[in-house]
Symmetry: C2
Subunit: 183 residues, 2 copies
């Protein structure tokens, strides 16, 4: 299966969003169009303190008109290494710094209409919390949760951000693998 691009044009160029309209040929020769959001990608960081608690953030999400509880995350600068972005966003949104940053692969949040890739990380945090440095138009609260509280909130739907579920699941599978390797 493959879809060949015949023509590309810009549908919308905003400050954040860039929509491309593609004319394509399907494998059987039929024509179709695809509307795709071009996105530089993002880093997602599940940070944990030595006492076992995880550091999440709560922020108002205009798109859904309510606050959401999420892992720390932020958009990559064009061409930026996801590791650099992960360190920066962790510091800016939570005030914490990572002692160790472990990559947990990546996921695509909405492959039907965007090329955005979310680079997932688990971070062991330094205890000391510095000042938050969020963007001027961004208001973020730090929230501390145990593993049990996170799973309770995911099951109950209080945590309903897909990237947070994705990084949590990858973290749990990575942990299970590490335990099997120890035995």
């Amino acid at each position: 299966m493959h879809e060949t691009t015949i023509a590309t044009r810009t549908g919308f160029q905003g400050k954040l969003l860039h929509v491309e309209i593609l004319e394509i040929a399907l494998a059987d020769g039929a024509r179709a169009t695809r509307e795709i959001i071009r996105h530089p990608g993002a880093a997602v960081v599940l940070g944990q303190l030595d006492d076992g608690r995880f550091v999440l953030v709560r922020q108002y999400r205009k798109a859904v008109e309510r606050e959401m509880l999420e892992a720390v995350a932020g958009t990559l600068n064009r061409g930026e290494d996801p590791v650099i972005c992960a360190h920066r966003e962790l510091s800016e949104e939570s005030g914490y710094r990572a002692r160790e940053l472990i990559p947990l692969g990546s996921v695509v949040p909405a492959p039907g209409y965007t090329d955005e890739r979310l680079h997932l990380f688990y971070a062991r945090l330094h205890e000391a919390q510095g000042a938050l440095h969020t963007d001027a138009d961004e208001h973020v609260c730090v929230v501390y949760l145990t593993a049990e509280e996170i799973e309770r909130d995911i099951a109950a739907g209080t945590i309903d951000d897909a990237k947070t579920l994705a990084v949590w699941l990858r973290y749990r599978l990575w942990q299970a693998q590490a335990r099997r390797n120890e035995v």
Copy 2:
């Protein structure tokens, strides 16, 4: 925390994507803009056969220029009940019908720029597979995986679609809860 909408205009109106540009006032009175994709939402179905295997689909995703392995999913018609959409997409993309459809809540794939909500379901499937009825510009292959294979593929990154990780995690937590209730 709240962000008040001052003005709204259409940035782009495509066949699939609708981009709105919002002028907003933050809690501290400062002004900002938000670019938001308005989306009718979608249904995601994790189907399972009586022999224990799960039914996923493989399809070419133009946005990322490769095939992806995903749970069955499809966009809601405007105002449609997610349950109706789940049954339709399951039949169209996999050829299977649900004996029982269990809601697993919902998630937001990209709260930074879309109001899309993914309604998650687990389905016990009838054994008999009918014909697939995908859209003319959509080519889908059915793939059968055990629970162990799904977790292996998620851990390895072979499954990297965020909604598929989300429905899998909610399914596993729902299963764990059901087991605890039995004890």
